[in-house]
């Protein structure tokens, strides 16, 4: 079914930025956008006027929007994009910005996901998430994603024999990674006992299967490879990328995503296979979704993720398949739409920044996977990108 896209050649991702996550913040979303932009300018040596494109994602910026930010920050970009795709937003922002740069619609694009978090923001978000949820999920007290993903998790366990401990292995590994990256919202390692004995949220989901909402921002700059070289910025290139929406609508319950449909053309475009991937960042709203991505992206067969994880370390330094090396959302927290950028930003860091405490050794190729927007009984967006370290990176 796949039609071939043009290549993403000549486009660079630089200056990965994370604004430290906070469990709650009195600041507005604009503050997080502003700090991310300022950090990018400092890291790149560019002036504000050099940024002529802006792609953003946010849940808590409303009623303000991307164009509001141009006014707030006194910027006059000639290209503006909003990506309202939650956990799929980072890769999609990258794809849109790459085409703008290739076509000359913009030269330097700032891509930022940012959100604040306060006692009201999460409730407001889930109360207004989709019309289908309001009519057919909320009235059961099942607002927010926990109920939906408890259904998906139970089905996965019953269909494929996964055990709670298997999900626990993912969560424990990510906590280890978050500790190494100094990004854990929890400040201590997670043991299997902690995981197993945590309070139940919506069985089989327990506390550590669920992400902690928080405030923060993630972002990166995009420009041509030539521009990155002339600025002497270490960069990452896009070898391949795909996106797909509402894949497998015929499935009564979610057990596979769009990755399964496009993975062949993804690897073909990159001229690589799963065995060539040095590190992977999946979207980890729940550990079962990590498993779907490992399967659908070809690291193991469908239903085999549990045994894959039992036999393969996911730790940054475990010598297996380094996965969610900054701790992912399960341990670093879910900073709203920034959660859709954490995997891509961490990949750019791993491939360009020297001296990371959680540096994966000999990392040249990263796979990033995005997933987002539960409208009724599953998330509808899936995407992925394969990135490679640029010539003068690291």
């Amino acid at each position: 079914m796949n039609k071939k896209s043009n290549s993403y050649e000549g486009v660079a991702l630089v200056c990965p930025v994370t604004i430290p996550y906070q469990r709650q913040s009195e600041k507005q979303a604009e503050w997080f956008f502003g700090r991310a932009l300022a950090t990018m300018l400092k890291d790149s040596g560019l002036n504000k006027t050099d940024i002529d494109g802006l792609a953003i994602s946010s849940f808590t910026l409303a009623p303000d929007s991307a164009v509001s930010l141009t006014n707030y920050f006194s910027m006059s970009p000639r290209w503006l994009e909003t990506i309202p795709l939650g956990g799929a937003s980072g890769v999609v922002a990258m794809r849109r910005a790459a085409r703008a740069i290739q076509c000359g619609d913009a030269e330097v694009v700032a891509c930022v996901g940012a959100d604040t978090s306060n006692p009201q923001s999460f409730g407001k978000l889930i109360d207004n998430f989709s019309g289908f949820s309001s009519n057919a999920v909320h009235p059961y007290g099942a607002g927010g994603p926990n109920t939906v993903f408890s259904m998906i998790t139970r089905n996965y366990m019953e269909q494929f024999g996964a055990e709670r401990e298997d999900f626990g292995r993912i969560c424990i590994s990510q906590r280890d990674n978050a500790m190494a990256a100094s990004r854990s919202l929890f400040n201590k390692p997670l043991s299997m006992d902690d995981y197993m004995n945590a309070r139940v949220i919506a069985d089989p989901l327990h506390l550590f299967d669920c992400v902690m909402p928080c405030a923060g921002a993630e972002g990166y700059l995009m420009m041509s490879v030539d521009r990155a070289k002339s600025l002497a910025l270490p960069y990452v290139e896009i070898l391949a990328s795909e996106e797909l929406y509402n894949a497998f609508p015929e499935d009564d319950i979610h057990f596979r995503g769009g990755w399964q449909i496009f993975r062949e053309s993804l690897y073909e475009a990159a001229d690589l296979g799963p065995e060539d991937i040095d590190l992977i960042q999946t979207y980890d709203d729940y550990p079962v979704i990590v498993m779907l991505q490992l399967e659908d992206l070809g690291f193991c067969d469908k239903g085999e993720a549990s045994s894959f994880i039992r036999n393969t370390s996911l730790n940054w330094d475990g010598g297996g398949l380094p996965h969610n090396t900054a701790g992912g959302q399960l341990s670093a927290g879910q900073a709203g739409a920034a959660g859709g950028f954490i995997g891509l930003v961490e990949s750019i860091k791993q491939l360009t920044v020297q001296g990371l405490n959680n540096a994966v050794s000999n990392a040249n190729i990263a796979l990033v996977s995005g997933y987002g927007m539960v409208i009724y009984d599953r998330c509808l967006s899936s995407n992925a990108a394969i990135l490679s370290r640029g010539e003068n990176g690291k």
């Binding site: 109360d127 019309g131 909320h138 007290g141 099942a142 109920t147 408890s150 139970r154 309070r199």
Partner: protein
């Protein structure tokens, strides 16, 4: 602060109104396209298959199978938090759609045959309740007495 009585959420949009009216007479209705016969859920204005504006509310078989279920302990709604846990089912109707519902049978297992009832809750919202075919309906509905409108 006023001590308001806790109630299940009321967030429905207008497209749901016919289901609520049907709940008053305990009828189970879903939308079916008069152009292509596709049955739809959740309710909408346009047929998801042929995209025609020809959806009609019809009585549809309420029989189906439990495909997943949970005990929700951490609802975002205060009523359901106060009365936690609440058991929620995902039901695949023989007619096609996959539907979230309440379920009272504590021994319910994936694969069980169930049927859905359309009832009003104490907020006056219509909600679906999954009843296990092999257990007494009255006893199951009594389990949800706090939630259902008398």
């Amino acid at each position: 602060m006023e001590n308001k009585e806790l109630l299940p959420p009321e967030l429905r949009t207008d497209v749901w109104a016919p289901v609520s009216r049907a709940a008053e007479s305990a009828e189970f209705i879903l939308q079916q396209c008069s152009a292509c016969e596709s049955i739809q859920y959740p309710p909408r204005e346009i047929c998801h298959v042929c995209l025609e504006d020809a959806l009609e509310w019809r009585q549809i078989s309420n029989k189906g199978k439990l495909i997943s279920h949970t005990n929700l302990h951490a609802s975002t709604n205060a009523f359901f938090r106060e009365n936690a846990p609440s058991q929620i089912a995902l039901v695949k109707l023989d007619a096609g759609p996959v539907i979230f519902s309440h379920i009272a049978n504590e021994n319910a297992q994936t694969g069980d045959r169930v049927y859905l009832l359309n009832r009003l809750d104490i907020s006056g919202e219509s909600i679906f309740v999954a009843i296990s075919e092999d257990a007494d309906e009255k006893i199951q509905l009594n389990q949800l007495a706090l939630l259902l409108k008398k």
